[in-house]
Symmetry: C2
Subunit: 72 residues, 2 copies
């Protein structure tokens, strides 16, 4: 079983930001891949692939932990 | 003996960028303090304090290593 979660993240400006978000999301249980389409200073779509559907709160917490804001 | 070197660095956009530049410059021999005044997406003044005058090429190489451009 697998799931794909797509979120929008604001506030990322550079590759370091992408790395921070990717690292936090990759640490969630069952996550197999994180892909960020950086829109510097804008809203960046982030696709997270996982073995099972992800908990919304856990995803939001991971983005927050990285220092960015999740657009719901 | 101490020296202060002020340079201008372009291309930094966020705190991660500041960290990367600070880390590289701090690794230069004799450097005691690095202070970055971030102008996101613009030209950011960086002040480097050191025990002795720094080699210009070494400073430029450190900024380049961090992934940014030094304005001469």
């Amino acid at each position: 079983m697998s799931a794909t979660t797509t979120i929008d993240v604001v506030g990322m400006t550079c590759g370091h930001c992408v790395s921070a978000v990717t690292e936090e999301l990759s640490a969630l249980p069952g996550v197999t891949d994180v892909s960020v389409d950086l829109v510097a200073g804008g809203t960046s779509p982030v696709t997270v692939r996982s073995e099972q559907p992800l908990d919304d709160a856990a995803v939001a917490a991971a983005v927050d932990e990285a220092g960015y804001e999740l657009v719901r």
